[in-house]
């Protein structure tokens, strides 16, 4: 891995973080009106509560952001706060800091997303490879079209359908949440089982919707890989079919899949946020629904920033371990 590549890649990471922070800073200021006061007013009109003093909270915010200062000073201050992990306080659960809410939600999202993506990537890739393999049982090819149709449907719609079938009609899975509400979450076996039990439906909607895309891409790559001369050679040599399939075929067709995984992570994350919203999962998506309903402006900003930065970081890591997946890749121009 060349130093030049590393520098370019770090530059891209910084650019994404820069865009995220700048968009977060600029867009609210580009819209006329005072976002803080109007957000507070809306909230109070909605809840009818009188225990929040709008003027006081808004004034505190203005002083904190230095909204009377020139815009570039505000911008620099905004960056300073970000580096201190200070995203402001929640308006709904005043004065709980935004960062603590986001921090509590992030592991749920990463866990759900990571496990589901690993499952659907593996199953989809295998299905696609088998669909291109002439000796595969014929039912495998029959599986492909239904999964492709499912992949055209947004994840969160599958989530609603699964919810209604398995949680409401059949009552075999819980209708939402991340764990039993009466459970005290500790690190022990019943808790883990409970969390997994609650994660099955949300992750099933991500997996069912994800398999088709991976299978389609893998099938195309596998078809062209199986046409290579070294496959014919391996077969002529009398190698067992399993070995030809796994090590001569799949191993070589796999790389573009990993590439696609890196590119697709952003849209998978967007989909997962919506699925969480449908299940009131305690991750960022579940937090987001409450924040939007309550016009909890700073929580939404915190979630947005966290989504962008965590994805940018994971893509960065994927890019760095890339040469390990395939030694043919060398980072140079």
């Amino acid at each position: 891995m060349s130093l030049e590549y590393l520098v370019t890649r770090v530059g891209q990471l910084l650019l994404i973080v820069f865009i995220a922070v700048t968009v977060n800073f600029l867009i609210p200021r580009a819209i006329p009106g005072d976002p803080i006061e109007s957000a507070l007013q809306t909230r109070i009109a909605m809840t009818g509560s009188t225990d929040v003093n709008v003027q006081e909270v808004a004034a505190a915010y203005r002083a904190k952001f230095g909204l009377d200062k020139p815009i570039w000073v505000q911008y620099l201050n905004y960056w300073r706060d970000i580096f201190r992990l200070d995203f402001g306080v929640s308006l709904v659960d005043f004065p709980q800091p935004v960062i603590s809410k986001v921090q509590a939600a992030l592991p749920w999202t990463l866990g759900l997303l990571g496990v589901s993506t690993a499952i659907d990537f593996t199953l989809g890739t295998l299905l696609g490879a088998l669909a291109a393999w002439p000796r595969a049982p014929s039912f495998v090819r029959g599986l492909l079209p239904p999964f492709m149709l499912l992949s055209a449907v947004p994840f969160f719609l599958l989530a609603i359908v699964l919810l209604s079938i398995f949680a409401v009609e059949l009552r075999v899975f819980p209708p939402g949440g991340g764990f039993d509400p009466v459970r005290i979450v500790r690190f022990n076996l019943p808790t883990i089982v409970d969390i997994l039990y609650h994660a099955i439906l949300p992750s099933m909607s991500l997996v069912l919707g994800g398999i088709g895309g991976w299978a389609l891409g893998m099938r195309a790559m596998m078809v062209s890989t199986l046409g290579e001369d070294y496959i014919t050679f391996a077969e002529a040599k009398g190698l067992p079919a399993r070995r030809v399939f796994l090590w001569y075929g799949m191993r070589n067709a796999l790389l573009p899949q990993v590439t696609r995984l890196a590119v697709a992570l952003g849209s998978i994350l967007s989909g997962a946020v919506l699925v969480e919203a449908m299940f009131s999962y305690p991750g960022l998506g579940g937090l987001l629904v409450g924040a939007i309903a309550g016009k909890d402006y700073f929580v939404i900003q915190g979630i947005v920033l966290m989504l962008i930065v965590s994805l940018a970081l994971s893509l960065f890591v994927v890019d760095l371990i890339y040469p390990l997946v395939d030694p043919r890749i060398r980072y140079q121009r």
Binding site: I27, A30, V153, L157, L163, P256, T259, L265, V289, I300
Partner: protein
């Protein structure tokens, strides 16, 4: 310089040797491709299937628009929470609105949002792609780095920030909102194609004949881009519709106009799923799924024009 190995690999795949230069243009398009798009009996099956599905959806919403009374879509217009019956074909929601009416009124709005964003996204992509592909230079570098960076951002994050700041959301504004992230793929695919077209002999011939740069761009390059513009348009429209339905389902849609996404939001907000009111959340889900499956077929069909390489693999 801003291009990473990942994206480079993503464009060329393994079909070209890994040692190929990073900016190698994609394989030249067969010269007859524009003619093929006009339909010399080469319409692929999936394109026809997709178009039939989408036309059926449009027809349904147009004809339905004559039959329903828009007043039935207002809160409290009809008896709430009725299952489907002869009077209410798709039942009513718990707010006293007729589900069929909302569905018929909402479908064209959702399609309009998608088309608005598709047109805007492809228009931006066409301008940026042409300029950066044809003229190169610092402009090309900026466009490429920016579109690369935005492509890896989870779209919903940026759209959220825009949507919560739009004071009064309308379907048109929703279209513009989601369009803000639907120009990157069109830009990249058009740019890549322009890079390849730019080097063709007929461009050199035109230049030798004294054609101006503008003439070359509009009369020589543009016609050969048509299949790619069509493919990007389908992709951008479908992506934008997906994003808009998602934003609306989160509660960031229009309050006074029915769309399929806001129907999902209300159904979700009033726990239609937990109450077993399948006639409420079912129809918008079925309609959205139908539209996306139609778009999926159309894009599979259009890709055959835009990417001749696909045709060789069964």
């Amino acid at each position: 310089m801003g291009e990473t190995a990942r994206q480079r690999e993503g464009e060329t795949g393994l079909l070209s040797p890994p040692s190929a230069p990073a900016d190698a243009p994609p394989r030249p398009l067969a010269p007859s491709s524009a003619r093929r798009l006009r339909g010399s009996g080469r319409w692929s099956g999936s394109l026809v299937v997709g178009l039939v599905i989408l036309l059926a959806v449009l027809l349904l919403s147009v004809v339905g628009g004559w039959l329903v009374d828009p007043k039935d879509g207002i809160v409290g217009a009809v008896t709430p929470s009725q299952p489907p019956s002869a009077r209410f074909l798709l039942g009513t929601d718990s707010q006293g609105r007729d589900v069929l009416t909302m569905l018929v009124l909402g479908t064209p709005q959702t399609i309009r949002i998608g088309l608005t964003a598709g047109v805007v996204g492809v228009a931006i992509g066409l301008v940026l792609g042409l300029l950066s592909g044809y003229f190169g230079g610092w402009f090309d570098g900026t466009v490429r780095v920016l579109s690369d960076a935005l492509m890896t951002v989870p779209g919903i994050a940026i759209l959220l920030i825009i949507a919560i700041n739009v004071g009064h959301m309308t379907p048109f504004l929703m279209g513009l909102t989601v369009a803000s992230l639907s120009w990157m793929y069109p830009t990249r695919s058009i740019r890549a194609q322009v890079l390849s077209i730019r080097e063709r002999p007929y461009i050199a011939v035109a230049r030798a004949n004294g054609a101006s740069e503008a003439e070359i761009v509009f009369r020589e390059v543009m016609p050969n881009l048509l299949p790619f513009i069509a493919a990007s348009f389908v992709g951008a429209t479908s992506g934008a519709m997906l994003a808009s339905v998602g934003l609306e389902a989160l509660g960031l849609g229009t309050n006074d106009v029915h769309t399929l996404g806001t129907m999902i939001f209300w159904a979700q907000k009033y726990s239609a799923v937990l109450r077993g009111q399948w006639w409420w959340f079912g129809p918008p889900i079925a309609m959205i799924a139908t539209i996306f499956i139609g778009l999926f077929f159309v894009s599979a069909g259009v890709d055959r024009f835009a990417n001749p390489r696909l045709r060789q693999q069964t």
